[in-house]
């Protein structure tokens, strides 16, 4: 009889695994613990046993009954839980996750840095508090030059110390301290003496580029600017390369892109010009090269400067320039 009980227990354990797989725990219960089940069957055999065997077998059967009941309940609980787990509301909205964000200007700077690093440019930095010498004098902007009025500088100590009015001041620093060949880009804050309004900000970002070597000429400048415009605005962008005056370069260049809103027919975005001014550029002025100690008969180079903020607000659809640096931007 004892062996029989052990045998039943082993069979139950095996059956339990099978029934769990086929999720028929109720049938398993009936088979073992039902009125006509295996355990009752065993109990019904007790009267036929010897008295001394009854004392041993009785509790054993009971133990078996409790064991089976417990195992089935346990399996049932697991099974129920699993059934719950399998049901997922895939349509429910996700929890809010607090993630970080880069400033849009940082993102554009990084894009441009990546572009220029591919062409072998390093990223250069320089002070924002500048001297007249590096900000103006060495860039062929002598005192009394009209461009100095245009710049509308913020002075810390007139006339020698000011907040840089353009990132070109880093060019003069690099040209003075580094022997050609030079290839750098300069992303950086610049300042103008003007209250921040819808389209101009006292603090603005420029992205400057400079390449100096033997035999660098305007065809290289054109290639670089066109490639950059394609990188920023896609390969179908139409550019216009025209003559423009900047004191620190000669010959000077203005690069425009065909207005993407009106396709060049004229609209309010492009002020009915059909084109949007993207940047100023040119061949570094021989006086600027010489004032930084570079022989202009041996070396030549080009420079360009982009106002980054306009690019940033158009790319990210930001309503106006004040959102960028006035602390009124919230990321969503």
């Amino acid at each position: 009889m004892k062996e029989k009980i052990e045998k039943i227990k082993r069979k139950f354990n095996k059956d339990l695994q099978d029934y769990i797989k086929s999720s028929l725990l109720d049938s398993l219960y009936l088979e073992y613990l039902g009125k006509k089940g295996i355990v009752n069957n065993l109990l019904s055999q007790i009267p036929n046993l010897l008295d001394e065997d009854k004392k041993i077998v009785g509790p054993k059967i009971n133990e078996l009954k409790v064991f089976i009941e417990k195992e089935i309940n346990k399996a049932r609980a697991v099974f129920e839980k699993q059934k719950d787990l399998e049901w997922v509301d895939f349509t429910t909205p996700g929890n809010k996750v607090k993630t970080g964000h880069y400033h849009p200007t940082t993102l554009i700077i990084r894009e441009l840095n990546n572009f220029f690093r591919y062409y072998g440019y390093s990223v250069a930095k320089g002070p924002e508090i500048e001297t007249d010498e590096y900000n103006f004098e060495k860039l062929n902007l002598p005192k009394d030059h009209p461009a100095r009025d245009l710049q509308d500088s913020l002075y810390i100590k007139e006339p020698d110390i000011l907040l840089r009015t353009h990132s070109s001041s880093v060019e003069t620093r690099v040209m003075t301290s580094t022997k050609p060949p030079i290839r750098i880009v300069v992303p950086g804050k610049c300042y103008r003496n003007e209250s921040t309004n819808k389209s101009n900000s006292a603090v603005f970002y420029q992205y400057e580029g400079l390449a100096i070597d033997k035999n660098i000429n305007m065809t290289n400048l054109k290639f670089t600017l066109e490639e950059m415009a394609r990188f920023l605005y896609g390969k179908d962008v139409k550019t216009r390369f025209r003559c423009k005056y900047y004191p620190q370069v000669e010959p000077g260049v203005g690069l425009d892109i065909k207005c993407t809103f009106c396709e060049g027919s004229g609209c309010s975005v492009c002020k009915y010009r059909g084109f949007i001014e993207l940047l100023g550029a040119g061949m570094v002025h021989p006086k600027a090269l010489e004032s930084c100690g570079i022989n202009h008969k041996v070396y030549s180079g080009f420079a360009f400067g982009i106002g980054l903020d306009r690019i940033v607000i158009t790319k990210f659809n930001i309503p106006d320039i004040r959102y960028l640096y006035s602390g009124i931007m919230v990321y969503v």
């Binding site: 607090k98 993630t99 970080g100 964000h101 880069y102 400033h103 940082t106 990084r110 062409y119 072998g120 390093s122 990223v123 250069a124 930095k125 002070p127 924002e128 508090i129 009209p146 245009l150 002075y155 100590k157 007139e158 580094t178 030079i182 804050k189 003496n193 003007e194 209250s195 900000s201 006292a202 603090v203 035999n215 660098i216 000429n217 305007m218 065809t219 290289n220 054109k222 290639f223 670089t224 390369f241 025209r242 003559c243 423009k244 005056y245 000669e250 010959p251 203005g254 004229g266 009915y272 010009r273 021989p286 006086k287 030549s300 640096y325 006035s326 602390g327 931007m329 919230v330 990321y331």
Partner: protein, 624 residues
Amino acid sequence: MKLPLIWLKDCIDTKKGPKEISDIYTSIGHMLDEPIKNDVLSLEVRQNRPDCLSIIGLARELSAVTGDSINEPQIAKPLKRISQKNYLDVRNSSKINRFITLHIKIKVGASPENIVKRLELYKIPSINNIVDLTNFVMVEQGQPMHVFDISKVHGRKLIIRQAEVEEKFTTLLGTSINLNEKDIVIADDEKILGLAGVIGGNSSKAIKESAEFIVEAANYNQASIRQSSRRHSIRTEASTRLEKYLSPKLPEIAVQRFIQLLYDNNIDFEILGYEDYSKGLNNINIKFNSKELKRIGGVDIDNEKILKILSRLNFGTEKEGDGLYNIKVPYYRTDIECEEDIIEEILRINGYENIPSNAINLSPPLKEITSKEYILENAIRDSLVKLGFDEHITEPLIGSTKNPNEIILENPFNKDKDALRTEIFQTLKQVIRTYKKNKREDVKIFEVGKYYLKEKNSYLEYSAVTAVVEGNYTFKDLKGYMENLLKDLNITRYEIKPKGSKGYVMQKELCLGKIKRNNFTLYISALTKALKSSQKYVETDVRNEIIEDITIEVPLKTYIGPIISNIKSISELVYSVDLIDELEKKYLKAVTFRITYKNPAKSITDKDVSPIKQKISRLVTSFS
């Protein structure tokens, strides 16, 4: 510059239409900046080309491209000094390059119709024949002129002098302005008649029947005119021209043209006097080598074409060798100073669109010179964004806080922005307010930027990162973020030295930054010094650790940091000490540390640990 095409065509025979003409101007440097209306172009003339603030100047530019022939306006014969009496007294010669006076007798009347029509196109109202003719000459030739009614000039003499400090002057528009010694004025012996190069006064207004005039055409130090115009916020047709470098030859051309127009329009006149103050004129010659055109421009243009372009621009050329020329610059081209200027002239008339586009020869690659600081700043941005912070960039300008180390601006545009921030946190406050206004409870922001300090007589700027938390976050969250950031940068050995309302982040003697209740700042240059080589992978095997929790009670305001570093310093086998619980009671707080013992080299046993445990328990009792 407004350019009425009818007027342009008085000076050039061209069959080109408005669109074609404006495209040419845009390409050669004078961009069309408004839509074309009624056949009037509005051009943004190149800053260094004041000669193009005139019809004839723009006609010459167009002709250089198209080859269309110019109808040079006729001018009368040059005049010699004629004067019975001295009408001109130039007292401030340093700022005057040229001053011509024409003393003339004339019958004032209505202007000829063709003159009125031309001026109308330019939106200058007609006044009378003499004033209109000077305005006509200004627009056509680019030289401002001025008429003085001699009966109103006391002493019948024009005195050109600097103004006195606080000298008052009422313009013809009726505004009264305070002059100073930087202004140049045209005066008689008792009053000011005009602010030189900028605007006339009341006494020059309303010329009616009078018969004798002084007509003036001058050239001044352009910076002085520019500054006067800006100082008094007066911009006129005269000042926009005279604030730039116009040729000092132009006044004589203008006067000759004025006289010619009197003849042409059958106006009766008699010249009574002509005086000319002049510092002399420079003729500019430049050596040009066509090889330089190839070197700088990168284009092949043959010598024949080069000569054709230069001749269309009225540049004289003398051949001095193969491709070598001596270039004579026409008087009105004050912008041409060096060989590169000639190169630009050839390229722009040949067309910038004809410049090919070529990559730079990239070999050999250049040495990378991007600074460590720049790379580190980007690593900081990456780490903080990963930790859920929003990056902000704020204008570093603040209203002065009277901090003696603050850098003050000498010419602020706004009193609320007259100084540079001494801490990045100062300008991040606005961002916090914005987040709160938007009901954001999860303020986690940072800026990588600069702060500025005045130290003795130097003005210094430093790069740093400041991160701020507000709303749902506690100090411990902030501290955790800072620790994570430093870990990302692979800076691990540092301790916090508390002092007052902040704690300094120290690596031995090097101060890496500071932490406050809701923000921390780390200094870029200190961080670059603390940087080690790249992070190493650390094997974590929990089976080989012994962990023990100990709880001690310490007074409420006890710094926990030093306790932890003391425990750590007891043995190298103390792998980590974490604060896992902190319970504040009335006077004491119960703090629970979880101490992990580990030996990277071999497995660790209770026998190794028990002497350390004893030391630790002696140590912690000293704190409680």
